[in-house]
């Protein structure tokens, strides 16, 4: 592990790392030269062989997703770079955009070439205004140097890149909500299938990939699939940007191989717990993942399979640390309130359920809860996100996975820290 050298963030501390000059001085844009001499199918095969899995949250194999795009499509094909970064606990894409925007753009060109796309969008969350301004410059620089536009680097391949700003809605990070939003509508997710690869933006084949996923591509092309595959676990390899926040001494983004021990991330990389307090609980993969207790957290690797075994997920790799000072009922209410605010409102279990969760948890912190309420919290989460039995999968009661994204964390709070919820009950109600 000590031999790991950062890949995506190796140059971010250098001055002007965001400029084209700098990027080219470290060999940037040599990957697209290579790609333009390959066939699109060959590019897809390399990415498939690398086993790269999406960094946005779902962890879907990137090469496989690309291969779903119809080869003989008569409609235009679109690539959308998902720069909505709104999962609580996640702040890595912003870093990549600020410090290595050309790496991301080169990744977009590679992905677009592979799927046959000639117009590609960057959907950036509206709050990232400074990053949007920077990207406008970066894209303009690329056009001036024939890295975008007609006949890129003298080839017969052409690509336009358009930057599109969101306007404040978590759900627009979900790929079909994002597509609706790009079409000029409110971000209401669509029922799948059809999947975006078949019918996405304007009913045309569309691939949505995350900023970090795309940023891996130049390196995979330059150094080869075997190199990428050799980093970390076989089923989900590569470098990964882990975000650590909450009650730690040294929060930040740490690039490490997939499969690193969660305890090393917290106690070594992030410097341990604030004031040397005791660790209490951790979100391993953004606020949509089920929380782990301290005992579970110190004994798990940050790997898709391992976290699934612990009934949670790697998600966006946003690690939120809670220590002994954190009141779990308040923390649970904070998360519930987030989801109630961000529910897009089109599915009844999600819209009503999240509102109820907030009402009941608010009642509880005010000391007016009942024992029945605690059971009701389980009932509501089951109603939104299905019974959480991984062997049976989710029941899919809602249009998009937001339902599960609420149900898992809330349920995990109540299940794993039930005693703290009980402490909030008025004494006579505990006895009753």
């Amino acid at each position: 592990m000590s031999t790991f050298e950062p890949v995506l963030t190796s140059n971010i501390t250098k001055e002007n790392s965001h400029t084209l000059d700098f990027y080219q001085s470290i060999g940037g844009y040599s990957a697209i030269k290579k790609v333009l001499s390959m066939s699109p199918l060959e590019v897809i095969d390399v990415v498939k062989a690398s086993n790269l899995r999406g960094r946005g949250g779902a962890g879907f194999p990137t090469g496989l997703k690309w291969s779903f795009v119809p080869k003989d499509s008569e409609k235009p094909i679109y690539l959308i770079n998902n720069a909505d970064e709104s999962e609580p606990g996640t702040f890595k894409d912003r870093l990549l955009m600020n410090k290595a925007p050309h790496q991301m753009l080169e990744g977009m060109i590679i992905a677009s070439y592979a799927i046959g796309c000639h117009t590609s969008f960057i959907y950036i969350r509206g709050e990232f205004y400074r990053e949007y301004m920077l990207l406008e410059k970066v894209v303009a620089e690329a056009y001036e140097n024939n890295l975008l536009g007609d006949n890129i680097l003298g080839s017969d391949y052409s690509l336009d890149v358009v930057i599109h700003r969101g306007a404040g809605a978590y759900i627009c990070g979900e790929e079909t909500g994002l597509i609706e939003s790009l079409e000029g509508k409110r971000g209401w997710p669509r029922i799948k299938p059809p999947f975006p690869a078949i019918e996405g933006y304007l009913q045309c084949p569309t691939v949505v990939n995350n900023v970090e996923t795309l940023s891996c591509l130049p390196h995979i092309i330059t150094r080869g699939a075997d190199w990428f595959q050799s980093i970390g676990p076989e089923k989900g390899p590569g470098p990964r940007l882990f975000c650590v926040s909450g009650r730690v001494k040294n929060p930040g983004v740490f690039e490490e191989p997939m499969g690193i021990d969660l305890k090393d991330l917290i106690f070594e990389k992030a410097g341990g717990i604030t004031n040397d307090n005791k660790l209490k609980a951790v979100f391993p993969g953004g606020s949509s993942s089920a929380i782990l207790t301290a005992a579970e957290a110190i004994d798990v690797k940050m790997d898709f399979e391992e976290l699934a075994k612990k009934k949670t997920m790697l998600g966006s790799a946003g690690v939120i640390v809670m220590d002994e000072t954190v009141d779990m009922v308040h923390a649970c209410l904070n998360i519930a309130r987030f989801y109630a605010h961000e529910s897009c409102g089109q599915c009844t279990p999600c819209r009503e359920g999240t509102t109820w969760l907030v009402k009941m948890l608010t009642r509880m912190v005010k000391g007016r809860g009942t024992l029945k309420d605690i059971n009701m919290l389980f009932e509501i989460t089951d109603n939104i996100g299905g019974l959480i039995d991984f062997s049976k999968g989710s029941y899919g009661k809602t249009i998009c996975p937001f339902g599960e994204a609420v149900a898992w964390p809330i349920r995990s709070f109540v299940e794993k820290f039930k005693d703290e919820f009980i402490k909030y009950l008025p004494q006579e109600k505990v006895a009753a």
């Binding site: 235009p76 606990g89 709050e127 599109h164 000029g184 929060p251 809670m322 987030f338």
Partner: protein, 163 residues
């Protein structure tokens, strides 16, 4: 929306080149809705019904469909906001690092509850959800700029320096 807006029936973009550029970037007209609303709001401060009608005409959709967007996205405002929008992140990582105290402090300092604007129209206090910068909590966005990891003292210095 206040009554005043309903009677205000004309809006014109001052930068027609920008409008043209926006349309040139999309394969269809409706996709220009969000960028057109952003541009109009930059010009007018908030979204009036005149803006909605103008955007609807340009994108060839029903004004109700534009209104649908305005009400869905938190960054579009249907009312005049203060000159400076103090947007305090209240989500977990910020909340665990003092965001609640920041909200309380601003509330006391200016006598404004979240959602309210000071009587001189200078500041609007807003509680917002995760700003994607949890590693530098607490985070407060003032208009377009992020201010990260500020103590209350540092925040005071910053706020007092705003003319």
């Amino acid at each position: 929306m206040s009554n005043k807006d309903i009677h205000e029936d004309s809006f014109q973009y001052t930068d027609s080149d920008k409008v043209e550029k926006i349309f040139s970037q999309y394969p269809d007209k409706r996709s220009a809705t969000l960028p057109l609303l952003h541009l109009a709001q930059t010009q007018g401060g908030y979204i009036t019904s005149a803006i909605i009608n103008t955007v609807a005409k340009l994108t060839e959709i029903h004004p109700a469909e534009v209104m649908d967007c305005v009400s869905f996205y938190t960054m579009f405002y249907s009312r005049q906001q203060g000159t400076y929008k103090l947007q305090v992140c209240q989500t977990l990582s910020c909340s665990l690092n003092g965001a609640d105290d920041i909200v309380d402090h601003i509330t006391q300092k200016y006598g404004t509850q979240p959602g309210e604007t000071t009587s001189d129209g200078k500041f609007t206090l807003l509680k917002v959800e995760c700003l994607g910068s949890c590693g530098t909590a607490p985070v407060i966005q003032i208009n377009d700029d992020y201010h990260e990891g500020l103590s209350i003292k540092e925040l005071d210095i910053l706020l007092d320096s705003i003319p």
